[in-house]
Every structure is written in structure tokens, then in C-alpha cells.
């Protein structure tokens, strides 16, 4: 059962769910969660390729830890933006934030 493809399928499914959530969710927090899914699918890919690619060093693992750290930072900033958004327009529905409409 140790095949690269099974990991890639899992990561693809994760990515697809993540994209789906980002594109279709109206709630900003749900979008943030979608982004987390996308980042984690990338993590799965990094680790899987490192494991099956016969690499001597653990670059993939290191990279995935970086991504986790980055995701934590990103989540902090995103939440701050969402709180500000809520303060300004009183909702976290992203459809309402369309001041830049042409």
C-alpha cells in the first residue's frame, strides 16, 4: 500500500476541497479554512515526494514545517483582517466587501 499515487490522490482531494471552499464559501473564516486545506495538501505532497523520491536529506519535511509556521502567521493576519472587516462593514460575508467593483 506504499505507493506515491495514493498520497497524491489524497493531497489532490484535499486541494480540491480547499479550492472549492475558498471559491464557494461566503464566510471569510470558511475561506481561511479552505486556504488551510490547500496549504496542508501541499504539505502532504512535499512529504510524499521526499519519502518516495529517494532523497538523502529531509528537505520536504523541513519545508512542510515552514509551511505550518507560515500558515499560523497567515491565519493570525487573516483573522486580524477579518476582525477589521467586521468592524467596518459589520459582517464577515465577503460578497458584501465589493468596494473595488468597477
Amino acid at each position: 500500500m506504499h505507493y506515491l499515487e495514493s498520497y497524491l490522490v489524497v493531497s489532490s482531494i484535499l486541494f480540491t476541497f480547499g479550492i472549492f471552499a475558498v471559491i464557494t464559501r461566503k464566510n471569510a473564516i470558511a475561506i481561511l479554512m479552505g486556504i488551510e486545506l490547500i496549504l496542508n495538501s501541499a504539505n502532504v505532497n512535499f512529504i510524499a515526494f521526499n519519502r518516495f523520491g529517494n532523497f538523502e536529506i529531509l528537505d520536504g519535511h523541513i519545508f512542510s514545517i515552514f509551511v505550518v509556521v507560515l500558515a499560523a502567521a497567515e491565519a493570525a493576519i487573516a483573522l486580524a483582517i477579518i476582525i477589521n472587516l467586521f468592524k467596518n462593514i459589520g459582517t464577515v460575508n465577503v460578497d458584501e466587501a465589493k468596494v473595488l467593483k468597477g
Binding site: 471559491i23 465589493k98 473595488l100 468597477g102
Partner: protein, 682 residues
């Protein structure tokens, strides 16, 4: 410059000063114009007489001086004067007649609107005439030649309100121009073959016989003579002179009888030494035809001035004929005597016209022609002084002994006879023309006298209002009639002997290109007696026939006219041989027709059709291009681009919905698309 130079130059300066002052004179003092003109011309007259006396004392009298006017390379034009015996005589003639005409005009032109301008014009005429007389080269003569033509134009058209006067001045100017063109070409031929404009240089060059061949010399001589044909009203170009009588009568006396028309003869006299035999023959024939033809025309004219005009043409023909046959002395002699008696005749006719005019004016009659002899008659009683002076000058022109015309005409006739004796053949025409014209002259001049001064007055009313002209007009008449007497020119008791101080003073030219002067002088001497006899006879006949017709009424004029008219002879003479009509027919009418056609082509076709068509085409093209520019280029293309931009931006701005997820979806789709594309092409 010495005294004599100033003396000669004064002949140009004095009349020019008179002209310049009078042309700018204020109209308030214009009525006193003669106080300026008369003293200046009088001074000139005294001057000319002093030169004449000086030349009489010195047999080899010549004054000459010339300076370079300008030059362009080889081509050099000098101005200068040459005064010899002949010039001295001419200067006296011009100054005297000019002075007397000025004096006469004071009364004649009194009350005219342009009184000062009249005297100014007389001044410029005198200036230019003196210029012709004293100039030593042909180009300077030509300049003054044109100037006399110009002043003649001004004076003929002096009363330019009258249509006929304006027409006559134009005609005179244009016809003279024809002759002048020939003269100019002749002068240029002479210059380019001999290399000088100076008359004496040309004569010397021809004598030396180099640089110019016979036929070229003949042609150039005849071309220069063409100027004389125009100015002296010789046969083909004579038609302007009778029309020139539209000018004031004193002007006719000065310009168109005594001086300007004689300028042609004077010029021919100057160039006479280098004229070839063929040229002289043609000149003689032109003179003969003119003398006879003009005399025939004069018979039937009823206008007093027209008779005198044709008589002038006829007498000028005599002079030209005299030059042609080599009797140059006689030509100049006749020029001088003719100047005196013809000026007298014209001034007398002016006196009659003046009186007629005033009489008609007081009767408020503006329809009767004051110049028509049929309206006169019996004036002898009313105007005795005019009558007797006119009679004297008529006797002179008719060639009656004791009067000047007899001597000079006799000398010319002797010349024609001797020419015939030398050359024979067709030259018999010359003496026939000469004697014939002499008889006709006697006839028509006495016809004029009888019709004007004798018989019954045509209108009692007009007759009663006639009176003798004032002193200023009669004094010139008396002086001129005295100068028409023979003894003035000969100082000789014998009336038949023509050689006096004047002919002696004219002298005679020994070397001539065209003739053997020795032979000519011999011939003249031999022909003298027979010529005198015949000319006495023809003058007698002319006067007798004339008195039979018009004084004694023995022969009915009407019946004779009808008789001659059976052969159309009367009409021929009355209508001046139809020469005017002929010129009309061959020159004027075709010219007008061509002009009319040209004008139609120019206006109706070229202008109206062709030029306007271009306008029309341009208009249409502009319309079209305007439409294309506005409707298509501007409205469709230029505006279309902006419309398109506007439209597409309106559509495209919908893409920027402001919803971040849309952008993301778009971005993701594009990513997928790019990946698919890359997959496909790898």
C-alpha cells in the same frame, strides 16, 4: 560749356520750363498762363534769329557737341546737338510759328476750361520739335520723334469730351506708331552695320563703302523713311492727318501744317545723303502719289479744315517727291515757305471758324457746323483782314509769281522734270503728278476762297453776327502773310528768279549715295525754264476754272458733279478714295472679328466653360471629400474607435466585480487552462 552751347540748349530748356510751370499752375491764375508761355517762346524766337544771323555771316557755320549718355559693352548711346545752316533755318521756322501760334491762341482759346494746360502742351510740343531739329543722332531724334507724336496726341485730343476728338487722337497715335516701328528697325540696322547712331558718322561710313551692302542700305533707308511716311502723312499712312483736325485750329497750324508734319521731311533731308537710288525712286513715287491723290480728295471736301488738311498732305507729298528726285534744296525751301503760308491759311481758317462759332453761339444755334464752307459765303465784307491775308497765302500755295510758293514749287517741278530727263520711262509719272497737283491745288484753294469769302452768305442771320477777329489773332496773320511774299526769301526784284539768300543758305550736298548730284544740278538748271512756264500755265488754268465754277457761276456745279458721278469720280474723291473704308475692311474689321472670336473663346468657352468647370469639379470633389471626411472618417472610424473603446470598457468593467472569489476562480481556471495547454504541447 561755352555760350553757344547754352544758346542751343535754351531751345530745349525754355519751352520745357514753360511746360513745367504751366502744368502745375493753380487754376485761379490759369487765365494768365500766356504771360508765362509767351515771353519764354519769344526769348526762344530771338535766340533762334540770332543763331540764324550768326550762321548767315559764317559760311561754314556748325556747332556740335555730344556726350555719352550710357553704354552697355559695345552698345553706346550719345546725346548731342548738331547745328548747321539748315538747323538754324528750321529753328527759326519752329520758333516763329510757335510764337505766333501762342500769340494767336490767347484770343482763340480764351475762356477754355483747360486754358493753362493748352499752353503747357504747346510748350512740350515746341520742346520736342526743337529736339528733333537739333539732335545729331538718330536715336535722340527718335526719342523726340516719339515726344512730338505724344504731344500731338495730347493736342488732337485736347477736347477729349468730344468722341471724335478722342478717336482722332488715338488714330493719329496708332498710325504714327506703324511708321515709327519701321524707323526704329531701320535705325538699328544702320547701327549694327555701321556702328553709330550719329547721322554724320553714318553718312561717312556709307561713303567709305564698308560694312553695308547695297540692298541692306536700301532697306534700312526705306525703313527710316517709314517714320517720315507716318509723321509726314504720306500715302499709305496719311489717314490720320485729316482726322487730326479735331484739335484746336492753332494746333493744326503749328503741328499739323507747319512743323511736326514737316519733321518727316526734315529727317529725310538729314538722311538723304546715304539713301540709295532705289530708295530714292520709291520715295519719289510715294511723294508723287501723295501729292496728286490728296489734291484730288481736297477738291470735293466741304469742311474748311479738311480742305487745308488734304492740301497739307499734298504739299508734304511735294517735299518728299523733291527729296526723291534729288532736289533737296527745293524740298527744304518748300518746307519753309509752306510752313509760312500753310500756318497762315490755318490761322485764317481758325479766324473764320472762331467768328462763325461766336456768331452761331449768339444765335443759340448748336446744330450748324461752323467749319462747313456751305454755311459761309460773302465773308469778305465782314472780315477784310482775314480775307486779304488768306488771299495772299492762297496765291502763295497756288504758285502765283511774286509769292513764295511759286518759287519753291517751281524748283520741285524742275526737279521732277530733270529726273525724268535722266531716267525716262515710268518716271514720267512724277512731273505729271507734280503739275497735275499744282493745277488742282490752285483750283481747290480758290474754291475755298470763293466759297468762304465771295458769293452770297448762306445764312443772313449768321452773316450779320460775324465780325473781324481781335488784334491778337490778326497780327500773326499779317506777319505770316508778309512772310508768304516771294521777295522775303530772295530779296530780289525779279519775281521769276528763285535763287536768293535762303536757297543759298541751305546750300547743296555734293556727295550723295543715290544720285550723281552734278547731273541733278545740271538737269535742274535746264528744266528750270520749262518747269516755270508749265507751272504758270497750270496755276492760271486752275484759278480760271475755279472762278468759272464758284465766282462767276458760268458752269453749274451740280451738273458737273452729276456728270462726273456717272463714272463715280465725284464719290471717289468725296470719300477720300475709300482708303479709310479700305483700312476698315482689311484691318479694322477682321481685327475686331478676330478679337470678338477670341473674346468669345476666352469668356464663353475658356472662362465660362473650362475654368468654371474646374470650379464645379473642385466643388463636387470637396463636397465628396467633405462627406467622406465627416461621415466616414470622422463619424465612423474616429468616433467608431472611441465607441468601441467605450462599449468594450463598459462590458469589460463587469469583470471587476470586486468579489475576490471571482478573481480567484478566474485565476484558478486560467491556471488549469495553462497547465492543460502545456500538457498538450509537450
Amino acid at each position: 560749356m561755352d555760350f553757344s552751347t547754352y544758346q542751343i540748349l535754351s531751345f530745349l530748356i525754355l519751352p520745357l520750363v514753360s511746360f513745367v510751370i504751366l502744368i502745375f499752375v493753380r487754376s485761379s491764375v490759369a487765365i494768365k498762363s500766356h504771360f508765362i508761355a509767351l515771353p519764354l517762346i519769344g526769348l526762344m524766337l530771338i535766340n533762334s534769329i540770332s543763331i540764324l544771323f550768326k550762321s548767315l555771316q559764317d559760311h561754314h557755320f556748325t556747332l556740335k557737341q555730344s556726350f555719352q549718355w550710357f553704354s552697355t559693352g559695345e552698345f553706346m548711346i550719345n546725346l548731342g546737338y548738331y547745328v548747321d545752316n539748315v538747323t538754324a533755318i528750321m529753328l527759326v521756322v519752329v520758333s516763329l510759328i510757335s510764337f505766333l501760334v501762342h500769340l494767336y491762341s490767347i484770343e482763340y482759346m480764351k475762356g477754355d476750361l483747360r486754358y493753362s494746360r493748352y499752353f503747357a502742351f504747346l510748350g512740350i510740343f515746341t520742346f520736342s520739335m526743337n529736339g528733333i531739329v537739333i539732335s545729331d543722332n538718330l536715336i535722340m531724334m527718335y526719342i523726340f520723334w516719339e515726344l512730338v507724336g505724344f504731344s500731338s496726341y495730347l493736342l488732337i485730343g485736347f477736347w477729349f469730351e468730344k468722341h471724335s476728338a478722342a478717336y482722332a487722337s488715338k488714330k493719329a497715335f496708332l498710325i504714327n506708331r506703324i511708321g515709327d516701328i519701321g524707323m526704329f528697325i531701320g535705325i538699328m540696322i544702320l547701327f549694327f552695320s555701321i556702328g553709330s547712331f550719329n547721322i554724320n558718322d553714318i553718312i561717312r561710313g556709307v561713303e567709305a563703302g564698308n560694312n553695308i551692302n547695297y540692298s541692306l542700305l536700301t532697306i534700312s533707308g526705306l525703313l527710316v523713311f517709314m517714320g517720315a511716311v507716318g509723321k509726314s502723312a504720306q500715302f499709305p499712312l496719311h489717314t490720320w492727318l485729316p482726322d487730326a483736325m479735331e484739335g484746336p485750329t492753332p494746333v493744326s497750324a503749328l503741328i499739323h501744317a507747319a512743323t511736326m508734319v514737316a519733321a518727316g521731311v526734315y529727317m529725310t533731308f538729314r538722311i538723304f545723303p546715304f539713301l540709295t537710288p532705289d530708295a530714292l525712286l520709291i520715295i519719289a513715287f510715294i511723294g508723287g502719289i501723295t501729292a496728286l491723290g490728296a489734291a484730288v480728295i481736297a477738291i470735293t471736301q466741304t469742311d474748311i479744315k479738311a480742305v487745308l488738311a488734304y492740301s497739307t498732305i499734298s504739299q508734304l507729298g511735294y517735299m518728299v517727291m523733291a527729296l526723291g528726285v534729288g532736289a533737296h534744296q527745293a524740298a527744304l525751301f518748300h518746307l519753309v515757305t509752306h510752313a509760312m503760308f500753310k500756318a497762315c491759311l490755318f490761322l485764317c481758317s481758325g479766324s473764320v471758324i472762331h467768328a462763325m462759332h461766336h456768331s452761331l453761339h449768339s444765335l443759340n444755334d448748336h446744330h450748324t457746323d461752323p467749319q462747313d464752307m456751305n454755311n459761309m459765303g460773302g465773308l469778305k465784307v465782314k472780315m477784310p483782314l482775314t480775307y486779304y491775308t488768306m488771299l495772299v497765302s492762297t496765291l502763295a500755295i497756288s504758285g502765283v509769281p511774286f509769292f513764295s510758293g511759286f518759287l519753291s514749287k517751281d524748283a520741285i517741278l524742275a526737279g521732277t522734270l530733270s529726273y525724268y530727263h535722266i531716267h525716262h520711262g515710268l518716271t514720267i509719272f512724277l512731273p505729271i503728278a507734280g503739275f497735275g497737283a499744282a493745277m488742282i491745288t490752285a483750283f481747290y484753294m480758290f474754291r475755298l476762297i470763293f466759297k468762304t469769302f465771295h458769293g452770297k452768305p448762306a445764312s443772313k442771320n449768321v452773316f450779320n453776327h460775324m465780325k473781324e477777329s481781335p488784334l491778337a489773332m490778326t497780327i500773326p496773320l499779317v506777319i505770316l502773310s508778309i512772310l508768304s511774299l516771294a521777295f522775303v526769301f530772295t530779296i530780289n526784284i525779279n519775281p521769276l528768279h528763285g535763287h536768293g539768300w535762303l536757297t543759298h543758305h541751305i546750300g547743296y550736298i555734293k556727295h550723295v549715295a543715290g544720285l550723281n548730284m552734278h547731273e541733278v544740278q545740271d538737269g535742274l538748271h535746264h528744266a528750270h525754264n520749262s518747269a516755270m512756264f508749265i507751272s504758270l500755265l497750270v496755276a492760271f488754268f486752275g484759278i480760271v476754272i475755279s472762278s468759272l465754277f464758284y465766282l462767276l457761276n458760268k458752269v453749274d456745279v451740280e451738273r458737273t458733279t452729276t456728270f462726273f458721278n456717272k463714272f463715280k469720280l465725284y464719290d471717289l474723291s468725296k470719300n477720300k478714295f475709300y482708303i479709310n473704308e479700305f483700312y476698315d475692311f482689311i484691318l479694322y474689321k477682321p481685327f475686331m472679328r478676330i478679337s470678338k472670336i477670341a473674346s468669345i473663346i476666352d469668356w464663353d468657352y475658356y472662362d465660362q466653360k473650362f475654368i468654371d468647370a474646374w470650379g464645379w469639379i473642385t466643388l463636387k470633389i470637396s463636397n465628396l471629400s467633405g462627406k467622406a471626411d465627416y461621415s466616414i472618417l470622422d463619424q465612423k472610424i474616429v468616433d467608431g474607435v472611441s465607441h468601441l473603446t467605450n462599449y468594450s470598457s463598459k462590458k469589460l468593467r463587469n469583470i471587476q466585480s470586486g468579489i475576490i472569489q471571482n478573481y480567484l476562480l478566474g485565476g484558478f481556471m486560467c491556471l488549469v487552462l495553462i497547465i492543460i495547454v502545456i500538457q498538450q504541447f509537450n
